[in-house]
């Protein structure tokens, strides 16, 4: 394949370059601009939301080719090539706080994730309940 520069580029090189570019863009979210929203002005106040972001990504590709050796009858062997790739990623964001600027100064109000807190408390309660039951069972056995 001919590129604009006149240098031959294999499809695998192009894909590899695209992967590098995509991964490069992943690290853009490390900037503060990704965490703080654009300021919104209403009724004399400016509000900014602050969020936590986690993003992970992985990609891979490979290619190979081979040729069958020529046969005894002198016929050239067949050849073939193949390439494949795959990737996966994960992204997660959660609002942490709202920053408001107004007549009464600057205020930082935390945002609570009720679902996450509820699930964590339920899991903790379950673990504590199982431990308590085990301890009771053990002490009954010890007394018996």
């Amino acid at each position: 394949m001919e590129s604009g520069m006149g240098i031959e580029q294999r499809p695998l090189d192009i894909v590899s370059q695209r992967i590098t570019d995509t991964i490069g863009r992943l690290f853009d979210i490390a900037r503060p601009g990704a965490v703080f929203s654009e300021p919104v002005e209403a009724e004399g106040y400016i509000a900014i939301t602050a969020k936590e972001i986690v993003t992970g990504m992985g990609m891979g590709l490979g290619a190979g080719s081979g040729e069958e050796p020529a046969g005894e009858d002198g016929k050239p062997g067949s050849g073939g090539e193949g390439a494949g790739g795959g990737g996966g990623g994960y992204s997660y964001g959660r609002p942490v706080a709202v920053i408001s600027i107004g007549r009464d100064g600057v205020q930082v109000t935390p945002v609570l994730d009720a679902t996450k807190i509820g699930l964590a408390l339920l899991t903790a309660w379950g673990a504590i309940a199982i431990t308590t039951m085990r301890m009771r069972r053990f002490s009954r056995r010890s007394l018996g």
Binding site: P32, V35, A50, A124, W125
Partner: protein, 90 residues
């Protein structure tokens, strides 16, 4: 790729926002882990620096949800460990 390129922990300041003579600068902290053909970024808000006519104040942004979740997990782990230790002693 050097170790510092693979693992990077940094605190950065965002764009300054101004209103009624109050200048606020948001701060964030990010952890970046890179590996060949991949990577991971964890970015979170850290604080806002408030400047009122030369008086600077730093207001931390506390992630209450994370504190509660880790607190509950820590408490459950502690109970689990203590339960195990007490059961063995008896």
């Amino acid at each position: 790729m050097q170790a510092q390129d693979r693992l990077h922990w940094s605190t950065e300041q965002g764009e300054v926002i101004e209103k009624d003579g109050i200048r606020i600068t948001p701060e964030s902290r990010s952890l970046t882990i890179r590996w060949p053909n991949g990577g991971l970024v964890w970015n979170r808000p850290l604080a806002v620096v408030v400047d009122r006519g030369g008086t600077t104040e730093r207001i931390p942004i506390v992630d209450v949800t994370r504190w509660i979740v880790w607190g509950a997990a820590g408490f459950a782990a502690l109970v689990f460990l203590l339960g195990g230790i007490l059961s063995r002693r008896k």
